[in-house]
């Protein structure tokens, strides 16, 4: 028989450890990390191409070249050719990819694209799992779990023949609209949770990162002032108290920092050079309502929609929210609707060429412009489901209907874009695997440049032609690139620049 413990004596080490382990498993941060890692695996399974056959695609190549040649801050503030807004988040992730490559691959530049893909999956997994951390006291656990799953399986056109499945997951260039979703969640948390000082600083730094990556995220900032405005209107707090509120002070500092770093973006700078006729009414309805706003709800029948159906469904959604949402969530739905309306307006007015791509409900491409708004729509859908469940609380099994509906939507999404089947979009641009060859050839031909991309035989960088698209060249550091090529048996000093090319170098899959 175990001797009784003396009163006041500390518990045995094993008992204490077990208790701490149980507490750690239930800790919100561990839950969030578990959700993030699970999301990373799901997203990787849906779009494995950027990691399996890594290549720097589109702006990833351009911004990586700037990061390597001109440094972090120059790339962050001048990465876009028009310099219309800064891309702090994108460059931050590319720098993280470079750091990961240095840590895991010894700085091998040919492994840099794979490192960026890994960082991209991690970023998307962390953003899609953010509700698990921020909204755990705002939504019931069932709605929270389904929201997380719906985000992970949101249809992204991966199994279409378009480039959507090729250009979002695993890439850094299109994370901007994920920042829109992150900003929405951060403001939702900020206005309802009354965070402590540390959480407030972390939240506002997150908002700063979002706004300095996608200036559209600034649309949600006024909503962060809602608690203070409400208190002033209701007279529950004096203006002096509100002015001294750390949340208000922090918000003002955040706005000032955003304005100082971003400036006021000039939306006219992002107009395409060739004039495109303005969208007709039907295209505006499709782009602004069906694709931008209702898509999380209507995607199973998207290709069967019409202007009349879209307008009718919008009216039904508005009526349902007005009828069944709870008063505490009304500001949330109003704020979400305002955000979706502003993004729809920006896309309709300043990117009318998008209407050409999705004209007539034929296609959901380019999904990269809409997935952020669709995630916001999913969050609103989860909140609405929680409200309806709350109203049906006394109705027995009926209270589970909203979650059941979301589960049906989830099942349809998983069947529509199954992660266990290789999608056609993952097989586009097979020439990406020739990057090492092109790098060897570039070195062999002496394509060396300085940090300003001027030809220089003693330059510290190599300019590698990128035939498949933009940018037309990718610039990487010379010395580590030459070491990496020699290690792979691609001797840049041999004639023709590539020497004897072993089969292994051409087949990155066979590892």
């Amino acid at each position: 028989m175990r001797p009784a413990r003396a009163p006041g004596a500390p518990p045995p080490f094993g008992t204490l450890l077990a208790a701490e382990l149980a507490a750690a498993i239930r800790h919100p941060l561990i839950t969030y990390l578990a959700a993030t890692t699970a999301a990373v695996v799901i997203l990787f399974a849906r779009a494995p191409r950027p990691y399996v056959i890594p290549q720097l695609f589109a702006e990833d190549g351009l911004w990586s070249s700037l990061l390597h040649t001109r440094g972090f801050w120059y790339a962050a503030f001048h990465g876009r050719p028009e310099s219309d807004y800064c891309i702090l988040g994108n460059v931050l992730l590319l720098a993280a990819g470079r750091a990961w490559c240095a840590l895991v691959h010894g700085g091998d530049p040919l492994e840099y694209p794979r490192s960026c893909a890994w960082v991209s999956y991690l970023f998307y997994g962390a953003i899609f799992s953010l509700p698990v951390l921020l909204l755990r006291r705002r939504l019931p656990a069932a709605q929270l779990l389904v929201l997380w799953l719906l985000a992970c399986f949101l249809p992204l056109g991966i199994h279409d023949s378009s480039f959507s499945g090729f250009e979002i997951l695993g890439r850094v260039s299109n994370i901007g609209f994920a920042c829109l979703y992150a900003a929405f969640l951060l403001v939702w948390y900020r206005t309802t949770a009354a965070p402590g000082p540390a959480a407030l600083v972390a939240t506002d730094l997150g908002l700063l990162a979002c706004v300095t990556t996608n200036p559209l995220a600034a649309v949600v900032l006024p909503a962060a002032a809602w608690p203070a405005i409400r208190d002033l209107r209701q007279g529950t707090r004096a203006a002096a108290d509100v002015a001294r509120d750390p949340a208000v002070v922090s918000l003002l500092m955040l706005v000032a920092a955003c304005a100082g770093l971003c400036g006021l973006p000039n939306p006219w700078k992002i107009r395409p050079r060739e004039p495109i006729p303005p969208l007709g009414a039907a295209a505006v309805v499709e782009l602004g309502l069906a694709r931008n706003t209702l898509f999380p709800l209507v995607w199973p029948v998207y290709r069967h929609l019409s202007t009349g159906l879209t307008l009718g469904m919008t009216a039904c959604v508005v009526a349902a929210i007005h009828r069944w949402s709870l008063p505490r969530h009304r500001p949330l739905f109003l704020g979400g609707a305002a955000l979706l309306a502003v993004t729809a307006t920006v896309l309709v007015v300043f990117r009318p060429e998008l209407g050409i791509h999705i004209g007539g409900y034929r296609s959901t491409f380019p999904d990269r412009y809409f997935y952020g708004q669709n995630l916001v729509g999913l969050a609103l859908l989860a909140a609405f489901a929680a409200d309806v469940g709350e109203r049906l609380r006394e109705r027995g099994w009926l209270r589970h209907l909203p979650v059941a509906g979301l589960l049906v939507l989830l099942a349809a999404a998983v069947i529509h874009e199954p992660p266990w089947r290789l999608a056609p979009s993952q097989c586009l641009r097979p020439e990406g695997r020739l990057f090492a060859l092109r790098a060897a050839r570039a070195v062999g031909e002496g394509r060396f440049v300085d940090e300003r991309l001027r030809a220089d035989p003693a330059g510290r960088f190599v300019s590698i032609p990128n035939p498949e698209g933009t940018p037309k060249r990718i610039v990487l550091p010379r010395a580590p690139l030459v070491r990496a090529l020699v290690a792979r048996g691609l001797d840049p000093s041999a004639p023709n620049g590539a020497g004897v090319i072993p089969a292994q170098a051409l087949e990155p899959l066979a590892r």
Binding site: L16, A24, I25, P48, V52
Partner: protein, 225 residues
Amino acid sequence: MASTPARTRRRIRWLVCRGIAWAICLGALLSATSILFRGVDGEARAALAVWRAKKRSADGELFAIVRDTRPPLALADGVIVKQELRAAHDGLCALRLETVRTADPPEGGPVTWRLVEMVGDGQAPILIRSGTLDGAAGAAGGWLDIPFAPIATSAGGHYMLKLVAPAERPSRPLALAVHTTPEACEPYVVSPGPTTAAPPQPAAIGTTLHMWLRYTASAPSPSSP
């Protein structure tokens, strides 16, 4: 009330337990992620390898991404066209060149072709395959197919395709499509026929014949080098 040293010992014990608990949780998460990630990676590589093997045997391997179309290259007047290419896999068994489509079928005599391997500095190429084909008959559908016995060890090989056009110029000669391409690919070289003394003319940097390389249908296993 416990003495200060006892309280300190208790606090240290608690911190150590908490640290170990968190280390266990984080370690379990990292291990699970790594195992699942590697599993998905293996499945994806296998699926991509199977897809690419099927595509290579069905469609061949694209020689170069081509873009804007330039004036076509007529296979007439005895011109000699040379295009360098590199094979990425074993089992190269056919080349396919894009031709210009016309409403009526093209006319013309036989086209002689040679496939040589450029070894070393390319000054002494080795003849690998050769033949003659009826260009007009073989160009149905907008493509000129040049099949030959598979080259078992073609992976990494640097080859040159040489086409010799018939000496005459019919009213509708067979014409090869020429495109701009980024500079990473070799431009083709065209030499006038024997009736003129002009030197060979390389095409402008960034132009190439639109070519597909076909390989025999053997999918590589994921573990093979």
